[in-house]
Each structure stands twice: as structure tokens, then as C-alpha cells.
């Protein structure tokens, strides 16, 4: 059934491809809805007023006369979901793969094998997601239909893949999507293996990362000294790779099991980096390590699965079986240990897989509140944009998802999605959009 309370009456309809109707009134009020603010207590029945893309009021406010009013009876308003790690809006770049392991760098050309860190191999730290966004990415619409209004999106190729951005999942021009850039630098442990250029091994990658950060520190010192006293000093050269590294407010490092947690957290501490670990499939094994290091982590919602086409005769180890069984208990274990985490859906095959994946974590002990928080306010806090995103609060960006039923439940229907105060409606009540990628 279609909820088009206002659509027919509206004079300024914008028809977007894919059957979505966006409306452009500057003031919208959702009245009489249950409001899950996330930052505060749930408001059983209240009004949310959106003006010029921002949240103007939450609670028992009266809709102003100029507002387009939506009857929220029976509906729940949540902050729009944020995908903490994705490639949304970057259709030309490879997607995150399901394993949480890095993507191979595509051979853009065939460069000479690197001889060391000075050749800056597998390094596009200067690449900015914010400058590469495209509204033609069909995944944007599919993600909105699943309740996402924002994402943190990254280039993902190579070792130093590039600078991510916090984006809204809609806009008139790509630049309008950007909320914060750079959001961080995405690093992987990718290497071509023995017989390729440097680095060709995991230890080569780690040594390379260490050298780059040492170089960046040296570069910054030299740059600052030169900026203060250019006269009479030999000028330092410009290094676009180190510029990218220096610009990143935080670094994303991959870690799926306890040995990797320690390895990456120690590296981060040694290099004095703000680290977000991503992956975390085996987080259930050692939440105390994460707690001890005060780690901040991004949990891959694509739980480990038996590889398709695996040899049915091959015997799997107890550890692999255990991991598949217990990986969804990671979020609950993190909550219990007091480790701050957010979910990322970027590795899911399609947005429709989101709710079942979250439900598995809830069956394994995660509360509904914590699940919602892990896809809203926690994401905003981990990326330092909680003053703008992540909750239903006055002054924040008007990104909301309005549902009939609790988020992530089996039969829940996403009724509306608001991005920057613009209303989007999934065309079909059951948003099971299959997107070919």
C-alpha cells in the first residue's frame, strides 16, 4: 500500500529515476509518531519538524502553518542509518569484498616493480572519495530503500587506498552529498605475494606503513620549518602521498582475529595514529584485548560463511566452524566489554541482507537499542560528526528513516527516508531491491 499523503497535492515534485519521488517543501512535520531519538529516551508519541534540511524541533512541538504534515500514526521515526564503511557513491571503484580482506589493486598500467617505500607503491593516499562521488551509483537508491541516509565511503584499493568521506546518500550534485571530508585513510594489508614488487609480504606492508608515517612526520617538520622561514632555506619538495597521509584524521586498519587486533593496535600506538579497526569477525574471542587498548572498531555485518563452491570433501578446522557459529555474538561481546563499535554493511551483497544480518547479532545477545545505535549515533561518534548526524535532535541534519514496525524486524516496512530533509519513498512496500553490480 502506498502512502502518498502529500505527493499528489505537491506542486514541486521531482521525479528521480528508479521510481522514487522526492519532494521539496522546505518544512515537513511528522506528527504523532513514536520517535527513537537514540541520543535520549524514546518519545512514545511526538512530532518531528524538519526545516531547510535540518531538524528544527523534536517532541511535542506544534507543526507550523507552512509545514507539510505527515501523519505519523503507527509509525516510528529513527535517525537515518549510517553505513560505517562502504564504497557507496563510488560506482567506478571496486566494492568491499565479503571477507573483510583487502581488494587487490587493479593493474591500471603495468608499472615497474617497486624497489622500496620510496617508490610509494600501492599508494593512492591522495585520492579523495569526496571528489570522486557520483549520483549515478544505483546502489544509493537501494541503500536508501533499506533505511540508509548516509555512509562513510572509501577508496579501497592498494595499501594506502585513499581518503574517505562521510556522505549523505542523496543530493542534486555530488558535492552536496559530502558531510565531512576527509573522514579517514583506508589502509589494507594488500600485497601481491612472492614474486611481485615491494611490498610482497605482510611484513613488507607493515614495514612500508611504518616508513611512510616516519617520512610523513619528517616531511611535516621540514614543511613547517620552511613555511616559517622560507628565506634562506632550501625548500622541501612536495609529496602528494605524504600530504594525503598527513591530512587523514584517522586510519582504518583491518583486523579479524585476536592476533590481528594486537598487531594493528600496537602499530597504531607505535605510530601515534587514531585507529578504527575494521572486520572483527572473531571479535567474540578476545573483546578484552580491544578493551585493554581502548580500541574503536567497525564490525562487518557480513558474517563469515562457508565459501561457495568449497570442496565438500575438505575438512574444516574447529576454529573455522566455531567462527562461523559465533561471529554474530561479537557485537554483544563488545557491548559487554565496553568497546565502542559500529556496524558496516558495505560488504553485504545487497541492502536487503541488512535486517537478517542484524537479527543474527540480536539472537546472539545484542539488544535492539544497541543495534540501532551501532548504525546511527556510534557511527557518527566514531567519525567525529555526532554534532551533525546520528540522532533525532534539534539542529542535526534532517536524516531520518520512518518505519512501520521496529527496524530490523522481519516484516518491518520502510515507509519514508529523509535525506537532508528531502523525502524518499521506497516504491514497493517490501524494499527488496536487487541491484546488479
Amino acid at each position: 500500500m502506498k502512502y502518498r499523503v502529500l505527493a499528489l497535492a505537491c506542486s514541486a515534485l521531482v521525479f528521480l529515476p528508479g521510481g522514487i519521488v522526492a519532494e521539496v517543501p522546505s518544512v515537513i512535520a511528522i506528527r504523532g509518531a513514536r520517535i527513537v531519538t537514540v541520543s535520549g529516551p524514546v518519545i512514545p508519541r511526538g512530532t518531528v519538524i524538519l526545516r531547510d534540511g535540518l531538524i528544527e524541533a523534536v517532541g511535542d512541538a506544534q507543526p507550523p502553518p507552512e509545514a507539510w504534515v505527515i501523519d505519523g500514526e503507527g509509525l516510528t521515526v529513527y535517525p537515518g542509518l549510517l553505513d560505517a564503511l562502504s564504497t557507496l557513491g563510488l560506482p567506478d571503484m571496486p566494492r568491499l569484498n565479503g571477507t573483510g580482506r583487502p581488494n587487490a589493486a587493479r593493474p591500471r598500467s603495468a608499472p615497474a616493480p617497486a624497489r622500496g617505500p620510496e617508490d610509494r607503491p600501492l599508494n593512492t593516499s591522495y585520492l579523495r572519495a569526496a571528489g570522486e562521488l557520483s549520483l549515478t551509483d544505483r546502489r544509493l537508491e537501494a541503500a536508501r530503500n533499506a533505511g540508509f541516509t548516509g555512509a562513510v565511503t572509501f577508496p579501497t584499493e592498494g595499501v594506502f587506498a585513499g581518503l574517505g568521506a562521510v556522505i549523505d546518500l542523496a543530493g542534486k550534485r555530488p558535492g552536496e552529498m559530502v558531510v565531512q571530508s576527509p573522514a579517514g585513510l583506508y589502509l589494507t594489508m594488500y600485497n601481491g605475494g612472492f614474486g611481485t614488487g615491494y611490498p610482497s609480504s605482510l611484513m613488507g606492508v607493515i614495514a612500508y606503513i611504518r616508513q611512510i608515517y616516519l617520512d610523513a612526520g619528517q616531511y611535516k617538520a621540514a614543511r613547517d620549518i620552511y613555511a616559517a622561514h622560507p628565506n634562506g632555506l632550501k625548500r622541501p619538495g612536495y609529496d602528494k602521498w605524504l600530504e594525503g597521509v598527513l591530512e587523514a584524521p584517522r586510519v582504518l586498519l583491518p583486523a579479524n582475529d585476536p592476533k590481528e587486533f594486537e598487531r594493528m593496535l600496537r602499530l597504531g600506538e607505535e605510530l601515534n595514529l587514531q585507529v578504527l579497526l575494521y572486520g572483527l569477525a572473531e571479535g567474540f574471542r578476545a573483546p578484552e584485548i580491544l578493551r585493554k587498548h581502548n580500541a574503536r572498531v567497525l564490525v562487518n555485518l557480513r558474517w563469515p560463511e562457508k565459501p561457495r563452491g568449497a570442496d565438500p570433501e575438505a575438512e574444516e578446522t574447529l576454529r573455522v566452524l566455531e567462527t562461523r557459529d559465533l561471529a554474530p555474538s561479537t557485537p554483544a561481546a563488545l557491548v559487554k566489554a565496553g568497546v565502542k563499535f559500529a556496524f558496516y554493511a558495505g560488504a553485504l551483497e545487497k541492502p536487503a541482507d541488512l535486517a537478517p544480518a542484524v537479527r543474527r547479532a540480536m539472537i546472539a545477545g545484542l539488544s535492539h537499542d544497541d543495534a540501532v545505535r551501532a548504525m546511527t549515533l556510534n557511527v557518527a561518534e566514531l567519525y567525529g560528526v555526532a554534532d551533525r548526524l546520528g540522532s533525532v535532535e534539534k539542529g542535526k541534519i534532517a536524516n531520518l528513516v520512518v518505519t512501520r514496525g521496529d527496524l530490523f524486524r522481519d516484516k518491518t516496512e520502510v515507509k519514508y527516508v529523509f535525506v537532508d530533509g528531502m523525502k524518499y519513498e521506497p516504491e514497493t512496500p517490501a524494499p527488496a531491491a536487487e541491484v546488479t553490480r
Binding site: P199, A207, R263, L267
Partner: protein, 445 residues
Amino acid sequence: MTRLLWAALAASFTLPAAPPVVIQNARVLTVTRGSFTGAVLVKDGKIAEAAEKVMIPPGARVIDAGGQYLMPGIIDCHSHIAADSINEGAVSVSSMTGIEDVLNPDDISIYRALAGGVTTANILHGSANSIGGKCIVIKTRWGSAAEGLKFKGAMPGIKFALGENPKRRGMDDGPAGSRRNLRYPGTRMGVEDVIREAFTEAKAYQARWKEYEAGKARGETLIPPRRDLKLEPLVEVLEGKRFVHAHCYRADEILMLLRVADEFGFKIRTLQHVLEGYKVAREIAAHGAGASTFSDWWSYKVEAYDAIPYNAAIMVRKGVLVSLNSDSAELMRRLNTEAAKTMKYGGLTETEALSLITINPAKQLKIDDRVGSIEVGKDADLVLFDKHPLSSFAKVQKVFIDGALYFDRDRDLSERQLLQLKKKKLLEQEKQSAPQQKKQDRRPQ
């Protein structure tokens, strides 16, 4: 047997700080202080007493080892277990890399080595490079995190390699059907050149930093030189703060390396493999290098044709500090029988043979004040065999590291079934939750 089965099994052995342990009625092979039938008292992770009779302190755990043999934990001076990567083969000087960064405490080879009585191992970078990566000495503390594996206080090391491995990095197709070498060097001469060039650079780097430190001491405002992770370990070698473990085979390349080291003023701590060491044993002893070799491997590659099983014994007799290593996760489990071979080939005594896998590698790694023999005050790294460890029928019964029981054969055997059950349960659970597949009709035609 699956890897994780073992992991879970062995993890349960790791005990917290335990009460004193007395192992009594054992034949104690101290290696450095002769052998006797008696007891060893372990307290706070150290050997507190080793004598024919010891006082059993109250609350002590007493293990009756009647008819069994107690020896110091075996030390492997050349191993590649417990690491997630071994070779950074893209460059011929990969000294910026280090095993410490990639230690893998989940490697089942740790447990298997432990089950073979190995308690300490020198984990080396591979041999694809003239100058390889940094090494690390570990104890086989199965069940601990990477940090817990480290042998705290051991000297850091670095791997060098000579001969076939560093000169053959790989080939690709060159123009007109030719083949070309992908990486310099392609010859033994080239290997020498790479080492010389690296140390020449390292000396210049060392001088730059000294100059900077001197200027800073004079109160000048200076930008510090760029730190170079490739050259830093080589400066440490020059300053005697890092041991060189050099993979080598042929007599000529061994002499070459000793000459280069003498010229640049550093020492080769150990020659690894050193299959032609018997030809130049006097020169090796004169340099002060140790030799860590195989018992009886030969002819598996062209540079190993002149290897003889008497190598270890001849070098011992010529005054070289010799150890036997595994270089292999499989061989590592039975280094005791490797040591026994030197009695047949070269006539070493029992104690000399045992020294090759205990006190000698401990000296080579400069950890002989801590491990390598059963002496009061040393770490309680002990192995209990049911028969004399130099017998090929001997099986490891118990292994202690720092006084804690890390391997127990009886427990291992009894817990295997439990783990199998656990696994079976998980497999069935997964089968049931998997979507039902249509059964195909397979009626015979």
C-alpha cells in the same frame, strides 16, 4: 588432526603462576653438569634445585618420573614457524621488515614443536635476500598472544643469505624469447656487492646521525635526518647491537662473508646451514662465528652437493660452536634424533650431541645465562622423555616452560575425543541450518 582441535586442546594447558613443582626419580641430563638420577625443584619459573635429593616444599606438585629422562628444553636456532610471512622477496635488502611484526601465535607448528620438546626458537626471515629481515627469539608458549611468545631480553638478530637463494629471485620473459633476471643480484659476486653497498650506505647514514647529534649537542637548530628503517638495523649490526645469522652453503661464500664482515668491522654471529663449514672450520672459529647446521641433508640443490654428515662433528673438533637446526616445522619435532646422528657420524659423546640442541644454540643466541642446561637459577624450561632422548624410540611426555606445564602427552591424548565431538556437533548444527536442498531422484534407469 585439525589445527584448531590442537589449538583448543593445548590452550587449556597454559596454567597461571603455579605452585612449586618437583620432578623426582628422573634421570637428569643437565648437559653442562653431568647426569644423575634425582630431582629438580622448580620455583617461580626457575630451577631452584637440581640434585639427587631435594626437599619437597609444602604445597608442591610432585611428578614421579621414575625411569624417565629430564633434559633442558630444546633450542632451535633456525626456524620459520609462528609467523604470517617469512620472505619479503621484492628487494635484495629487506632489513626494514621484521618477524616481530607478523608473529602468529595461532600457528599449530608451535604446539607441534612443543610436543617435540622445543621450548625456544630463533624465528628467522627467509633466505630470498642478501640481507633479509629482522629475526626474533621466541619461547613456544602455546596459547599466549604474540607478545607472550617473545623471549624477553634476547639479542635481536637479522638474516643474511648467500648463494643460490638470494641470487635467484625469479625470471620473466624478456625481448625476443629471452629470459631475464627480475632482480639484482644474479650471481654470487652480486650478493657480495649488495652487502658491501648496503653497509657502505649504513656507514654514511650512521655518520649523518652522529653529525646531527654532535650539532645538537653544540646547541645548533637542525632538522634531524630522515629515519631509514632499512639502514637502522645495519647500523645496529655495525654497533654490535644486532646479531647476524647468515644462511650459507659453500666454503668460498663463507670466506667472502667473513672477509666483508672483518672489513666493515662487524661480526657474523652464526653461519646457518653452512654445509661446507667442515672445509673452512678453522677460519670460522677464528672469526668467532657459530655454525648452525643440518645433521645429514645433502644434494637437494646444487650448492649442497659437497655436504657430508660429518660436518657438525668436524666443526666441533675444530673448535667451532656448533648447533643443529631444523629450518622446518616437521624436523623441528624431532631434533633430539638429529642430535643423535652426530654420534654415529663423527663420534660425538652423548653430552656433546645433546649440547648441539641445547646449550650451544643458547650460546649462539646469547641466552645461555637463561636456558640451555639444567642449572640452578636458569629458566625452568624442561622436557621429560620416556626414554633416553637420543634414542629414536623416545617420546616427549611433558614440557615445561618457565615452570609451567605447556605440553602433557596424556592430556593431549585424552582430550582429542572431546574436541572431535565438539566439531561433530558444530558440523551437524550447520548442516541443519543450511537451506534444504532438493534431493535428486536417483532411481536406476
